[in-house]
C-alpha cells in the first residue's frame, strides 16, 4: 500500500517541472528607446492585410499519428474575420467554417463536426495569423534575450510574442491562470509575404500539433 506514493512521486515531480517551464517568466527591461522596434518586430509575423492562403497541413495527434490535409484560408486582420476550408489531398472538403462576430460552420464531416474542433481551429487561426490588438501590457527581453511583447486579451488570456535571433518567432497563449495553452512557431520567411512554415502546438486535451506549409498566397484588396 505504501508503494503507491513512492511510484507517483517522480510523476508529480515531472508535472511540477513541466509546469514551471511552461508558465510566464519574468522579463528583463530593455531601453525605452527600443520600444518601437520591439513592437514592430512583434507585429511582423502576422498578416499585414487580407490574404488568401493555401497550406499543406500536417496534424500530429497523441501517440504520434500523422495526417495531412490541404487548408484554404481567407483572412482579414482588420476585421478579424476569416473563412477556412480543410480538404483531403483528393479534394474532398472535410470542414468549412466562417468566423466574424460569430463562428459559422458550413460543412463538417465526422470527426470534424465536434464544436470543440471548430472553436479550437478558430483559436489557432487567430493566434497564428492575427496580431494581438492594442498596446502590449509588458515588453522586454525574454528567454535567450529575445525581444518579447505581452498582450492581454478581452477574455483574460495573455498572448506573448517572442522574436528570436535568426528570425524565428514564437507566439504563446496563456490561460487566466498563466498556464501555457498553445504555442506557435513561425520560421523565418525566405521571401517577403506570409510565413512559409507555421507550427501550432496545443497542450489541451486532446493535444495536437499542426504544421502548415504554405503552397499558395495571394494578397487581396479591400472588398
Amino acid at each position: 500500500m505504501n508503494a503507491m506514493p513512492h511510484r507517483l512521486a517522480p510523476l508529480l515531480l515531472l508535472l511540477l517541472t513541466v509546469g514551471a517551464c511552461t508558465g510566464l517568466k519574468p522579463l528583463t527591461p530593455l531601453d525605452a528607446a527600443r520600444k518601437t522596434t520591439v513592437l514592430e518586430g512583434c507585429r511582423r509575423p502576422f498578416l499585414p492585410g487580407k490574404y488568401r492562403l493555401v497550406h499543406a497541413l500536417e496534424t500530429v495527434t497523441p501517440g504520434g499519428a500523422k495526417g495531412t490535409a490541404v487548408g484554404v484560408l481567407v483572412a482579414d486582420p482588420r476585421t478579424l474575420g476569416f473563412r477556412t476550408a480543410l480538404m483531403t489531398i483528393e479534394g474532398f472538403v472535410l470542414f468549412d467554417a466562417e468566423a466574424g462576430e460569430t463562428l459559422t460552420v458550413h460543412r463538417a464531416v465526422p470527426p470534424f463536426d465536434a464544436p470543440a474542433f471548430a472553436e479550437g481551429l478558430a483559436e489557432d487561426i487567430r493566434l497564428a495569423f492575427f496580431a494581438p490588438g492594442g498596446e502590449p501590457t509588458a515588453w522586454g527581453a525574454g528567454e535567450e534575450g529575445a525581444p518579447v511583447c505581452r498582450f492581454k486579451r478581452a477574455d483574460g488570456r495573455l498572448v506573448e510574442v517572442l522574436t528570436f535571433k535568426g528570425g524565428v518567432t514564437a507566439i504563446r497563449l496563456y490561460g487566466t491562470g498563466q498556464e501555457l495553452l498553445k504555442r506557435v512557431k513561425i520560421s523565418p520567411p525566405e521571401r517577403p509575404g506570409p510565413a512559409e512554415m507555421v507550427e501550432i502546438e496545443s497542450g489541451g486535451w486532446p493535444s495536437y500539433t499542426l504544421r502548415l506549409r504554405l503552397l499558395e498566397s495571394e494578397a487581396l484588396g479591400d472588398d
Partner: protein
C-alpha cells in the same frame, strides 16, 4: 484485350441517345427520342452514310461499312448501356494514367491544381499518386487502404481521420473501374450519351446529398472501358474535376506498385 481507338471512324457516327438516360436498375433502355427511327439500334449513321428522309439512294462504301459493322459493338455500344460498360471494363486488366485535378471553391479565385498518376490492377488494386503540390500515395491492396506522405524525412504513413472516408472512395473507384457504376445502393446511377457518354451518380440519402450533390463520370469514346474525367460536385460552386490523360491499358504492372510506396 487491345486498346481500341475509334476516333477516326466515330466522327462519322452519332448516337440516337441525345437525351434519354438509362437509370440503374431498369435493365432496359428507354424509348428512342424523337428523330430516331423506330427499330434503329441506339447508335445510328449520320445522313452522309444512310438514306435521308426523302428516300435518296444510299451511298455507302462497302468496305468501310463492313469494317464499321464489325467494330460497332466495341466502338459505340460500350457506353450505351450498363451491360456495355461492364463488358468493356471486363476487358481491362490494368490501367495507368496521368491526371490533373482542379479543386474549385468559392474561396479560391482560381482552382487549386494537383497532378499525379493513377494505377489500377484487377481485381481491386489501386495506386493514386500525387506528384504535386503535396506528394502523397494512396494504395488499396487486398481491401486495405494506406496513405503515405512525403516529408523532408522521407515517406511516412498517414493516419489521419480522412483515411476512413478515402477507403469508401477507393472502393467506389474499384467499382467504376470494373464497370459496376450502379453497384453502390447509396447512389442512383444514370447513363446519358450526349454530348459525351456520361454516368451520373446522385446520392439517394439526403444526408449524403448534403456532402455530395452528384458525381459525373465522363467516359471515353476513344477507349472502351476508360473514364476521361470525374467531376465530384459538392455544390454548384464547390467541385473537384479530375481529367485523365496518357491512359494505357493492360500493360503488366509490377505488384510492388500496390504494396510499397516506392
Amino acid at each position: 484485350m487491345e486498346t481500341v481507338i475509334i476516333a477516326p471512324v466515330s466522327k462519322h457516327l452519332k448516337t440516337c441517345h441525345a437525351g434519354p438516360r438509362i437509370e440503374s436498375g431498369t435493365g432496359f433502355d428507354k424509348p428512342a427520342p424523337a428523330g430516331c427511327k423506330p427499330g434503329a439500334s441506339s447508335p445510328i449513321l449520320d445522313s452522309r452514310l444512310r438514306g435521308n428522309d426523302d428516300g435518296d439512294a444510299i451511298r455507302i462504301p462497302v468496305i468501310p461499312l463492313f469494317g464499321l459493322i464489325l467494330l460497332l459493338p466495341l466502338l459505340i455500344a460500350w457506353a450505351d448501356s450498363w451491360d456495355g460498360l461492364r463488358e468493356a471494363s471486363r476487358r481491362i486488366t490494368s490501367l495507368e494514367a496521368r491526371f490533373v485535378q482542379k479543386k474549385t471553391l468559392p474561396m479560391l479565385t482560381k482552382p487549386f491544381v494537383s497532378e499525379g498518376r493513377f494505377f489500377f490492377q484487377v481485381p481491386g488494386q489501386l495506386r493514386w499518386e500525387y506528384d504535386r503540390p503535396v506528394r502523397s500515395v494512396l494504395i488499396m491492396h487486398s481491401g486495405a487502404v494506406k496513405r503515405y506522405l512525403r516529408d523532408p524525412g522521407g515517406w511516412r504513413e498517414d493516419a489521419g481521420a480522412s483515411l476512413t472516408a478515402m477507403q469508401m472512395v477507393l472502393e467506389e473507384i474499384v467499382n467504376w473501374q470494373q464497370g459496376r457504376f450502379d453497384a453502390n445502393p447509396r447512389f442512383q446511377a444514370s447513363l446519358s450519351a450526349d454530348p459525351e457518354p456520361r454516368v451520373t451518380l446522385v446520392p439517394r440519402e439526403p444526408s449524403w446529398g448534403k456532402m455530395i450533390r452528384r458525381i459525373e463520370l465522363t467516359l471515353s469514346r476513344e477507349q472502351a472501358g476508360v473514364m476521361k474525367g470525374v467531376r465530384v460536385v459538392e455544390d454548384e460552386r464547390s467541385f473537384t474535376e479530375m481529367d485523365f490523360s496518357q491512359v494505357r491499358l493492360n500493360r503488366p504492372l509490377p505488384a510492388s506498385l500496390f504494396e510499397k510506396v516506392e
